[in-house]
Point group: C2
Chain length 390, copies 2
């Protein structure tokens, strides 16, 4: 027994267990067949609330007006200072949640699974089921996610991107097509892999033979960042894109589009085993990333055969005919437009679709999605990835 107890000390040293020796760890969230139970220990709290995008929507007042939004619910103290709330009939999906304890928002200390959406960190929980099965880890044949720093002369500094290489990349000797996948405003290179579950979706689709093995490059497209804000050191500021925020250069994608074409694509094509041709390049993005997709393909129509615009289209000040004509002239294999009617970008999307119609350009309009949220973009990725490079 002595041997075991010495080993026990060794095995748990460094885990902070000494510091937090106390009541047993709670199980939260606890996922059952059709319910999720959340728990939080707060013996002295007066009010504990659960916030989550699985909760019923109610009209919520904000400074922008009144919107329907998931309303917080009060948790109940069940025993020994443990507060609890069970949500029933939870549809299979990926959800975010937090607690509010006496008016202070906090994370669930029992749940290590969290995502950052811009400046906000929340816990996540996935209810398994048909809609969410691609969001779960693939059992085998999983790709590799790399955090890559590349030199960006367009920004005058090193910038960071994430690169997904599919299972088998290291040893196959094959060359792969590349999907450039852009986040939205306020996001960064981390967003598609955390909020977007891009690795799990691609791993599953490729393992099931539904998508071809491809490299996915997720740049940082934020005008004021060189890398995601959880990287420790303050980065040089202002960036080139901050400097020209009121200029035409900014409104046509400015330094970002230049950086994508002059820095990122050449880096990827010289550092990875890829097919260097238009039919092996795809470009898509959500919201701000959708704008950049429109700008990039208008300016460089010979780079991408596969184009995806998610939750975005043309703002009223743009001329769809002018911006789409170069794409039509150059030719393309797929034009995917993904936006639901409840998305605030739907009017912009309608202008994009009308432009495509007016020019007689073929496209796929996927509108079986909801609002301007990650739920929409995960579903769009599930639809878009299988039709790329085919």
């Amino acid at each position: 027994m002595k041997k075991l107890s010495i080993l026990a000390v060794i095995l748990f040293a460094g885990t902070g267990l000494f510091a937090q020796f106390g009541p047993p760890r709670l199980v939260s969230p606890e996922i059952k067949a059709d319910s999720i139970t959340f728990r939080f220990r707060a013996p002295k709290a007066i009010k504990v609330e659960l916030n989550g995008d699985f909760l019923p929507k109610k009209p919520m007042k904000t400074n922008f007006g009144t919107f329907d939004a998931p309303a917080p619910v009060e948790m109940k103290e069940v025993k020994d200072g443990v507060w609890e709330y069970t949500v029933h009939n939870v549809a299979p999906d990926f959800y975010s949640y937090t607690f509010t304890v006496d008016n202070i928002r906090m994370l669930d200390p029992s749940n290590l699974q969290m995502v950052r959406d811009g400046q906000n960190v929340t816990n996540i929980v996935i209810m398994p089921g048909e809609k969410s099965n691609l969001y779960l880890e693939a059992k085998e044949k999983k790709g590799t996610l790399s955090k890559v720093w590349y030199p960006s002369p367009a920004f005058g500094a090193n910038r960071r991107m994430y690169v997904y290489t599919p299972y088998g990349y290291e040893t196959s000797g094959k060359k792969y097509p590349v999907f450039y996948l852009q986040h939205g405003g306020g996001g960064d290179e981390d967003a598609w892999t955390s909020l977007g579950r891009a690795c799990q979706i691609l791993d599953n689709l490729i393992a099931q033979g539904k998508a071809v093995p491809m490299i996915v490059v997720m740049p940082n497209a934020s005008p004021n960042q060189l890398a995601s804000p959880d990287v420790l050191d303050p980065l040089p500021s202002p960036s080139p894109m901050q400097q020209d925020r009121t200029s035409e250069a900014f409104h046509s994608g400015g330094a970002y589009v230049k950086g994508l074409v002059e820095d990122i694509i050449p880096y990827v094509e010289s550092h990875y085993r890829v097919i260097k041709s238009k039919e092996a390049r795809a470009l898509a993005g959500l919201s701000m990333g959708g704008i950049y997709t429109l700008y990039t393909t208008a300016k460089y129509p010979n780079l991408f055969d596969y184009i995806g615009v998610l939750s975005m289209g043309f703002t009223p000040d743009r001329d769809p005919i002018k911006e789409l004509t170069p794409v039509k002239t150059a030719g393309y294999k797929l034009y995917f437009v993904g936006c639901g009617e409840s998305d605030f970008a739907y009017d912009n999307t309608k202008r994009l679709l009308k432009g495509l119609d007016d020019l007689g350009m073929k496209y796929t309009n996927f509108d079986k999605v909801g609002g301007h949220t990650w739920d929409t973009w995960r579903v769009c990725l599930k639809e878009l990835a299988p039709v790329l490079f085919k």
Copy 2:
């Protein structure tokens, strides 16, 4: 102006700013020349405390006895419900901290920089200076960190490891030496890159010409995990190492050592451009990872020319002469022992050092470090990396 305001909506959509429209974001932590100020907004709180490893130590009672530990300090409400505390004369280093609000421990919502130590998540802050300069992001020539799933027949499943490839790896055409770097009990494959700042330390040392470019492989050595616990899905349990926890196999490293030698090293040597020989392999680990280093080198003395044992040595039930003799017989280029006198593993370390002395084996004893903490292990990595593969 209309164009700008539409863009503003687009740029901030998805960031949750709608949801959290409220008082301005606080600056916390605010780092000045020799002080750090922490801030937290809690208008209705009665007591807000700051916990941090930069705070003066006091005797703290725990169930294990009384230990000297950094004592929490009370923050003061300065205005509009904002609580504040300034720590003066902060020595340059990497620090962890949290807040305790009315007895509930929470993270600093103004600071996105956080690390997970096993089951505990804390915020971090780096005070720049000579001791901590290698912990900051290198300005250029930065390597790539990859999250790699590899098949592990020893565990009957896919497991995850992190792999650092140095700047230039993708295009140099060169073969590299490999440093296998193991975490401690309660840790996982994430620990050396988050708590240990391994990428920053290696990037800086290599860029400064102080360490040779090398690949660093950081396995998951936890007996009950296939990947770090922030990966969403529950993984198969019990694992082979959980099953034989009382067996001799467990106490000689069991499935982990088998997995390292039979799964991980062959995977790395078939998937990366590496030098496949003893003089191009290093193995080190802290605490439990130090035990695994001792076990692995005793059982496979022809694999590693560079050996590092951090905060660990021989427990009283082991025979140092028996376990070190194979290493002496096979020969080696470096035996690095890193442990300070205030470390609870120091007695074990003394047994290791005596064994090395008794056998007349050359070694480097680095004891200019403190206790059984990540501060010690970061400093050890700074000392060890420059003497590898030379």
